[in-house]
Symmetry: C2
Subunit: 380 residues, 2 copies
């Protein structure tokens, strides 16, 4: 018998009720029946993004929504500021480059978060920056960025703030309207508890206006077209109907739990994981730890790939390794989406077992004890 | 009790075994487990496209793969020839326009197919055309185009032939390698029997080479990147895992039936539908009828919307109306994918019932009788 648990920062585990909703017969999208589902979904997305503004849905992975932001919110010849502190920050710069957009890059040591002051300074130094691209949780380093503070800077200026919250949405506090963000992109396969295949983008009024004036080539990811279709609870091209039907159920679960409770749950699981890892004598990698995913440094003498293989093959617990320059240096445990205290104890316990099997010296039950202490305190 | 049948040209009905496969727990995509599934899927796609060349899969609707073709197979300043005989032919021209590509358009009266001679003439007349964009089945008019004959022209020249087979794939005979086509794009929610959310593109050797030299902006739909990932049975960005797991089952069903039998089945159902419609005194719209979808002109005195509503609400039979200039003029019945003789009889019978209810004079059972005659002949 094989039983698998996904502690990877996307795809994440999907509730059976969502999986079964998606197994219903497909409905046609150009019908009142579909529009009624989509209307409910769009209300749920607004709640999740904490906005009264439209949230667009594309059949794509999160990267598609990132490209939509670049190709619609910039005009040729404009300049952008990009925070590069990991693989996903780098992706913003890569997409800009493909569209001939000059970027000013703030290169942050992997594991550290950009400070709002660094953004402010760059905006003062470099004239003509029209968009700032940031990453709410940089999944490759498990770092959280203070989006609220950065938005305080951009919202006073003629500069759009675009946030990659592909992994952060639903895990980290994010208040689109109250903070004054201009665009947030996300994906379905993380905190939203869906299989991959949907990408989202929320847009402020000034971002919507800017998109109407865009001149960069785009078609499938056209924001003006998607905004127009949304007025009739439709999408310009065939939507991923079954995923949207699943999304209705997943968003209903988030609404039932209450978004603030969802955030608190992620904070609690992340805190317990950090405590458990430290109790095992492991070093946390991120200097600004997120509630999305926790990274630990693989101890001397242990091979990261081997550790993950033992956890996966022996115990069904799938955790992620490091990406790019962090390959073999760190492992990452997600707290994302359909995840409970029990799941967190499971991953800590199986990590302890695997470490011991590979000859690492740690006390039996140490991780559990530390995590349980956090759960009993109830504070993330 | 409500029971729905989709006779719309996408989305189409999905076999329960495919729906249930997709309801399995999500697996992580950067694993040997996923790559094994994807390898099997990629073999199945090659069989379906009748090619030994790579077929790329994007999380997107079919339009995404159309954009991939334009943004990768043309260089800035190049010229393209576009056959515009309906909504989807027009889409090729629109995408080219967004990318600043000059198009020479062959405008075909809706309902008629382009003749290979018209393509040959345009290529001789207009110098410097690098790509010809065509539509195998123009879903908006139910017209089939002779791709084999057109490929005979392009394969001898320094001109790529790109075919939109979004609705045709799996319904119409298509032999990528043998005919010498350069790119075929398709989608999941038609003949492939999957919910929407996947787009495909098959590429000849010279198309792959051309994509490596592309200079138009693209990122998510980058063909060079997708080709590189495919070597390791991966995709550059998170794939729509659950749809790909469903795709394995759907492609297995096509292989079990045998592709030529699948084509024959579609031909038979289309022939029976045409016979049934004519027996009801209805006029077929397309002058080059496809095996994908059949269009009939809505008779004088009958309102198209009303006819569709009666069929849908009273009998659960969903057929499509006309698009753009054909709205209210035609209705369309698909023969796509998970579709049998029984389904075809069902749609013809419910159409007859609905027409009679709306006061149209036709003989009871006439459509059935004509369709059964075709089934007994076994010839599509």
């Amino acid at each position: 018998m094989r039983k698998d648990y996904l502690f990877t920062p996307g795809p994440t585990m999907v509730p059976p009720e969502v999986l079964l909703a998606m197994a219903q017969p497909v409905i046609h999208h150009r019908t009142a029946q579909f529009s009624a589902v989509f209307e409910e979904v769009n209300e749920g997305l607004k709640y999740l993004f904490q906005t009264t503004q439209p949230v667009l849905t594309f059949a794509a992975s999160g990267t598609g929504a990132m490209e939509a932001a670049v190709a619609n919110l910039l005009r040729s010849g404009e300049k952008a500021l990009v925070v590069r502190g990991g693989k996903f920050g780098e992706r913003w710069a890569e997409i800009c480059q493909r569209y001939g957009i000059e970027t000013v890059n703030i290169d942050i040591e992997w594991g550290r978060a950009v400070s709002p002051g660094e953004i402010e300074e760059a905006l003062a130094r470099e004239k003509g920056i029209k968009v700032v691209f940031t990453t709410h949780c940089e999944t490759s380093t498990a770092v959280r960025t203070d989006i609220e503070a950065i938005a305080r800077i951009t919202r006073e200026r003629d500069v759009l703030l675009v946030v990659d919250a592909v992994s952060a949405l639903g895990a980290e506090e994010l208040r689109f309207d109250a903070w004054g963000i201009d665009a947030v992109v996300s994906g379905a396969q993380k905190g939203i508890m869906l299989p991959p295949g949907l990408a989202f983008i929320a847009l402020s009024e000034r971002a919507q206006l800017k998109a109407q004036q865009g001149d960069l080539p785009n078609y499938y990811f056209s924001i003006p077209k998607a905004l127009k279709s949304l007025e009739k609870q439709q999408t310009p091209y065939t939507p991923a109907v079954s995923l949207i039907i699943g999304l209705r159920v997943a968003l209903g679960m988030i609404r039932d739990e209450g978004l603030e409770n969802v955030w608190k749950r992620h904070a609690l699981l992340a805190e317990a994981t950090r405590a458990g890892l430290e109790a095992l004598g492991l070093k946390l990698f991120s200097k600004a730890p997120s509630n999305v995913v926790t990274a630990f440094e693989v101890p001397e003498g242990i091979e990261a790939g081997r550790l993950r293989a033992v956890m996966r093959e022996r115990y069904g617990a799938n955790i992620a390794g490091g990406q790019a320059q962090l390959k073999d240096k760190i492992c990452r445990i997600a707290h994302l989406g359909y995840m409970t205290e029990s799941d967190t104890l499971l991953v800590l316990n199986t990590l302890e077992l695997a470490l011991r099997e590979l000859g690492y010296a740690c006390e039996r039950g140490a991780a559990s004890a530390a995590a349980v202490r956090v759960f009993e305190s109830g504070k993330g």
